[in-house]
């Protein structure tokens, strides 16, 4: 039982990381109808930026404090993501405004490759560390209920906390600020939003910036856990099934979908894996998404897809 709970916990933690990446997808899709295949590449790019700047800032400015360096690196990386967002809107999105979804999808595929190449050219292609001072030691809880307690990674707990703070901030942003209101209007109906004077182009830049910062937070946490390396971009591909499960337009769906996938992967690997030679994690998320596509394409919380004639 204790082992089951431990597996469950580690699944939830992994799932939460998927949720973070999926959140970026959902934000962009809600506001611009674009499916951003490049979200994974954005996570990698942001993580690389932060990791390297955290290294370079002490070298360039002599700031010794690790917290200071990390903070500065975070801010710079955030700014860089906003610049990337601006370029993407200017160079790509603006020209493909009325194209169908498949074309936009393939364009973001192109952006993916471009960002992956650019990131490694500017920041290098080794494995880098992000050290934001999260304690790596495990903690044992509930040892009154289960002898020896259940092993939980402190790092994962902090990561969950950061993610929760991010989601809360985003919710506040969307609900309480006028920009957030404008974003929700655009997500609901582009034309209506335009007709009341909301500048679509600027909104899209803002959305991609927010998605970029979300990618940065995700990249920071992933990078701290696994190290920043090229495979980060492909692991983020695992977040695609999350949105299928949760629904393309639903923020709670992204979170719950991520948790389900994380837990499902871990549990199936541990309990089913030994029967089929292991490695189920490679396809579990996708096959689950496939099943959803056949029976409930809109996911758990998404809107029903209606085909109008």
């Amino acid at each position: 039982m204790a082992f089951f709970l431990e597996t469950l916990m580690s699944g939830l933690m992994a799932g939460m990381l998927y949720s973070l990446v999926a959140l970026g997808f959902v934000l962009i899709f809600k506001a611009s109808g674009v499916f951003n295949f490049a979200q994974g590449a954005m996570v990698l790019f942001a993580a690389l930026a932060m990791a390297r700047f955290a290294e370079w800032i002490p070298q360039w400015t002599g700031i010794e404090s690790r917290l200071g360096a990390n903070l500065a690196a975070f801010v710079i990386a955030g700014l860089i993501m906003c610049i990337v967002a601006w370029f993407i809107e200017r160079l790509v999105l603006r020209h493909l405004v009325n194209q169908e979804g498949a074309t936009l999808l393939m364009a973001t595929l192109g952006i993916t490759y471009f960002l992956e190449g650019l990131g490694q050219t500017i920041f290098g292609s080794d494995i880098y560390k992000i050290d934001i001072g999260m304690p790596k030691d495990p903690v044992f809880v509930l040892d009154s209920v289960f002898p020896g307690g259940i092993l939980i990674n402190k790092e994962d707990l902090y990561a969950a906390l950061i993610a929760a703070v991010l989601v809360a901030t985003l919710s506040l942003f969307f609900q309480k600020t006028s920009t957030g209101r404008a974003l929700r209007a655009v997500a609901d109906d582009h034309q209506a939003a335009q007709s009341i004077g909301i500048p679509l182009n600027r909104i899209w830049v803002i959305v991609w910036c927010v998605a970029g910062v979300t990618a940065l937070v995700a990249g920071m946490i992933w990078g701290s856990k696994l190290g920043v390396q090229f495979s980060l971009a492909t692991v983020a591909l695992r977040a695609l099934p999350v949105i299928i499960l949760g629904g393309l337009t639903s923020v709670p769906g992204a979170i719950i979908g991520g948790l389900i996938i994380g837990v499902g992967e871990k549990l199936s690997e541990v309990y089913l894996g030994p029967f089929v030679g292991g490695g189920i994690e490679i396809w579990f998320a996708y096959v689950l998404a496939l099943v959803f596509l056949l029976f409930r394409p809109q996911g758990l919380f998404g809107e029903k897809i209606i085909d109008r004639v």
Binding site: F35, L91, V92, H95, L96, Q99, E100, G101, A102, T103, L105, M106, A107, L109, G110, I111, T112, Y113, F114, L115, E116, G117, L118, Q120, T121, S125, T234, L237, L240, P241, I244, L248, V276, G277, G278, G279, I280, I282, W283, Y286, V287, A289, L290, L293, L294, P297, I305, D307, V309
Partner: protein
């Protein structure tokens, strides 16, 4: 001046519906094919065969298959790598497990199994499209990745996980030297090219394009979307499966599942986008482009760097490749969504008017 159709009147439907109705086109294509079979072997060395021509021919075949599904029928697919893998491993198993199995039959059986897998993973296309379908095809990709890695039976239980074949021959002619491999692949490509062209300009091709352009209207005129979509998956997967078999048997000789990873799927999709969606010629252009570009960059970039005194490492060339591919995809989608094939037909239009400007 030279490329005019003056005097070329068609008096039968048969003449009007040829693959190349303009006589000049016919001559050029026949000459090109003759040159490919006879002239090229006299001019190129082993390296060209191994590094450029053979991969080009096989990937062009695969791109042809992907174009039928994505370009003609409008069903996005990111699982082509998996279908190539199925073709390769199925062909391997029939070749190795059945005594005296002829190579061509093994390859075709690879295509057959790829068809079954393709049709199975094509079922979601009956319910969803676009991004959702892309995710479904990725499920195929990752599941096959895992299956060929972990299920020992597929790899004949080799401990290393990689399989190899040798002693290839067709009707007594052996397929060992690069030249023989080249000719074999060329023959396969020409045959499939003609078959594919017949399909896309016939009734089934119209069905595919109708589904792509407006599936509601297609249903109303009596086309069954299920039949059209599944047949597109079937034909496409068959061709991609045969290409996979060729890739493993003829080009690589021995391979692991990583040869058919999701990167391969992206590569094929890029070929089709850059070459031209919905165009047979486009598949060839795209394949040529994507095969030649890395080699070109490998030579060109360091030379360029040397000119300005910057050292360009091989890693940097790879990164540059990524950036250039990505930028090109975006550029083509914005500027010429119909790819190189459209540029080609525009050039031919200009040629019809030459030497007049308009």
């Amino acid at each position: 001046m030279f490329y005019r159709e003056n005097g070329q009147f068609k008096t039968t439907y048969k003449a009007d519906q040829q693959i190349f109705p303009i006589a000049q086109d016919r001559w050029v294509i026949l000459a090109l094919i003759a040159f490919a079979f006879v002239g090229v072997p006299m001019l190129v060395d082993e390296y060209m065969f191994r590094a450029i021509l053979i991969p080009f021919l096989i990937l062009a075949l695969a791109a042809l298959g992907v174009n039928i599904l994505v370009g003609y029928c409008g069903q996005i697919s990111l699982g082509s790598g998996a279908f190539m893998a199925v073709g390769a491993y199925a062909a391997y198993n029939t070749f190795v497990r059945i005594e005296g199995m002829p190579l061509i039959v093994a390859l075709l059986s690879g295509g057959f199994f790829a068809t079954l897998v393709g049709m199975f993973f094509g079922i979601p296309s009956l319910r969803v499209k676009g991004l959702y379908l892309a995710v479904a095809t990725l499920a195929a990709q990752f599941f096959c990745d895992w299956a060929f890695l972990r299920i020992g039976w597929f790899t004949n239980n080799t401990p290393s996980g990689s399989v190899s074949v040798s002693n290839l021959q067709v009707f007594g002619w052996s397929i060992e030297t690069p030249l023989q491999k080249y000719l074999f692949c060329l023959a396969v490509l020409v045959v499939f090219g003609v078959l594919a062209k017949n399909l896309v300009r016939g009734a089934i091709g119209r069905e595919w394009m109708a589904i792509r352009d407006m599936d509601v209207a297609a249903a109303v005129i009596g086309i069954r979307p299920m039949y059209a979509k599944l047949s597109a998956f079937a034909v496409s997967s068959f061709i991609v499966g045969v290409a996979g078999g060729l890739w493993g048997f003829v080009h690589l000789g021995s391979w692991e599942p990583a040869a058919f990873s999701v990167d391969r799927s992206f590569q094929l999709l890029f070929m089709v986008i850059i070459g031209g969606l919905g165009s047979i010629m486009g598949s060839f252009f795209g394949a040529a482009f994507i095969v030649v570009l890395p080699i070109f960059l490998n030579q060109f970039l360091p030379a360029l760097g040397a000119l300005v005194g910057v050292e360009i490492s091989t890693a940097l060339v790879v990164h540059a490749e990524f950036m250039i591919f990505g930028a090109l995809i975006v550029w083509f989608l914005i500027v010429e969504p119909h790819g190189l094939a459209r540029l080609w037909s525009v050039a031919k239009q200009k040629l019809r008017l030459w030497p007049f400007p308009h």
